[in-house]
Amino acid sequence: MRAGRRLLDAVAVLIALVTVFPIYWMVLSAVKPAGEIQSLNQRPWTFHPSLAAFQRVLQVNDFGRYLLNSLLVALVVVAVSGLIAFLAAVALTRFHFRFRTTILVTFLIAQMVPIEALTIPLFFLVRDVGTVVPGVGLNTLGSLMLVHTAFTLPFAIWMLRGFVQAIPDELDEAAQIDGAGRFTVLWRILFPLVAPGLAAVSVFSFIHAWNDFLFARTFIISEADNQTLPMALLVFFKPDENDWGAIMAASTLMTVPVLIFFLIVRRRLVAGLGGAVKD
């Protein structure tokens, strides 16, 4: 029994190592000097770490700007979609009205819609809206914020619903008896209590917006200044020779914020996900 458990432990550790190996390789290759990257004898370590690739990426290719663009889009999406989802989740849990179940099912179905198929109509929609409201037309960050707010919304509502449900009704009733208006109940009572749920939802929305490659590629056609990370990264793929050092450095820059985020909220994420799946 004990030997068997030792063996399973060893297998688990081995699998864990294989699983993180690509991430290790990415970071390692980002800090390897150019000579070792081009080598026909790649080693899984380096004795001469260098930040040259990061410098190339950040200074020559202005990657900092794209990082900021990505961050801006993701943060706006998190804030707007979180707020709208909170209001909708309250409506769907605290009130009983006709079509409530229909609306809930619609949100569930909306999560399954292949948003990739919607790129075609959305491209024309954004183009046309852009002639009226320049801030959200093609080539703007606004267009990305707009579509990702919509795409993250169904899941955010679905997940937040579970968190609002968990707050006892008596609490808002007591507040109302004490003379609190609807608005006060919403902001002073429910909002703070749902905050942990909002944090979990934020992670999902953030990652969705941060990772988006498709819409960035479709909407940001000619305005290089408004590109986001995923597209900017592909610049280092060249027909003759890929600049692997720069690609790995850029990939690392793109991964690290999400990775930190994910590991911090690891436990809460699982709880929230369980809620979303079971709820």
Binding site: D9, A10, A12, V13, I15, A16, T19, V20, P22, W25, M26, S29, I37, L40, Q42, I84, L87, A88, V90, A91, F95, H96, F97, I103, L108, I109, M112, V113, P114, E116, A117, L118, T119, I120, P121, L122, L125, T149, A150, F151, L153, P154, D169, Q176, R182, I207, N211, F213, L214, T218, L229, L233, L234, M248, T252, M254, T255, V258, F262, R266
Partner: protein
């Protein structure tokens, strides 16, 4: 906020309704509309008027052997990814229940890390690992000069590996949580009765976890059917001569590379219908598991 019948829910729902109506429902309607129009570069630039062509885009599509080949590839690719993801995810979920604390922590953190890596970075990293000459894996296997992307199947296999690597953690974490929720006494009783791990898994865990399993399976189908970024980045937009196209990438290329927007929309509609069918299955499963909406 008591459960009453005032108008309050309306203004609470209004922002969500506006956003989803404008950016979900309306585009879905537009997608359907585009799919019955002759809509190419000429119409986009306003050179020619848009023309209603009825089912022509669809009949063209269904008469094109290319479409069937892409559809077949999509189904096989998605099926392969789903099966591999579930096998790895379920296997590791069971493994997690049988190991000591520290290895368990290591494995779950490693899986979380793989899950967190953005699709684009994951794709580029695996591309470098499997690069023709500079790839560590090729050098390790002693097959320098072998290009994984030349052959249709090795290319699909490599992309599939990246997809599985990124998606097994969801399955593992969800199933592990499900297994942990099974009363210990049930599993102990089984092992006292002489059931080994294999039998305990199939005859006790699987029946109890049925609802969770169904959800995980259908989520995986939906995700793997829609894979876009990994294929687009790793095979440079669909592989040599389009050998690695899947429906999603095919629709995108038809619309934005060939300016056949009507045709691309028709492919989009086909995909939407397939996923809708899967979704309805999902809803039925949720209902069956006694879900109160």
């Amino acid at each position: 906020m008591t459960r009453n019948k005032t108008r309050a829910p309306l203004w609470l729902l209004l922002p969500a309704a506006v956003v989803l109506g404008g950016l979900f429902l309306y585009p879905m309607y537009q997608l359907g509309l585009l799919s019955v129009l002759d809509f190419t570069q000429a119409q986009v630039s306003g050179g020619e008027p848009t023309r209603f062509v009825g089912a022509e885009n669809y009949s063209d599509l269904f008469g094109d052997p290319r479409f069937w080949s892409v559809l077949g590839a999509t189904v096989v690719f998605a099926a392969g990814c789903v099966i591999a993801t579930l096998a790895v995810g379920a296997g590791l979920a069971v493994l997690l229940t049988r190991i000591s604390r520290v290895p368990r922590l290591l494995l779950s953190v490693a899986a979380m890390a793989a899950w967190a890596v953005p699709a684009v970075s994951g794709s580029t990293t695996w591309m470098f690992l499997f690069d023709t000459d500079l790839g560590f894996v090729n050098q390790l296997l002693g097959i320098e000069g072998f290009n994984w992307m030349y052959d249709r199947y090795t290319a699909f296999a490599l992309v599939g590996a990246v997809v599985v690597w990124a998606s097994f953690p969801f399955v593992m974490v969800t199933l592990y949580a499900g297994i942990e929720a099974i009363p210990k006494s049930v599993l102990e009783a089984a092992s006292l009765d002489g059931a080994n791990a294999w039998r305990a898994f199939w005859q006790i865990m699987v029946p109890i976890l049925r609802p969770v399993l169904a959800i995980v399976v259908i989520q995986s189908i939906i995700w793997d059917f829609k894979v876009f970024t990994q294929i687009y980045v790793m095979t440079r937009g669909g592989g040599l001569a389009g050998q690695n196209l899947t429906l999603n990438v095919y629709a995108y290329q038809q619309a934005f590379a060939s300016s056949e927007y009507g045709r691309g929309a028709a492919i989009g509609v086909v995909m939407m219908l397939i996923l809708l069918a899967v979704t309805l299955l999902y809803l039925r499963t949720l209902r069956r598991s006694g879900e109160q909406l």
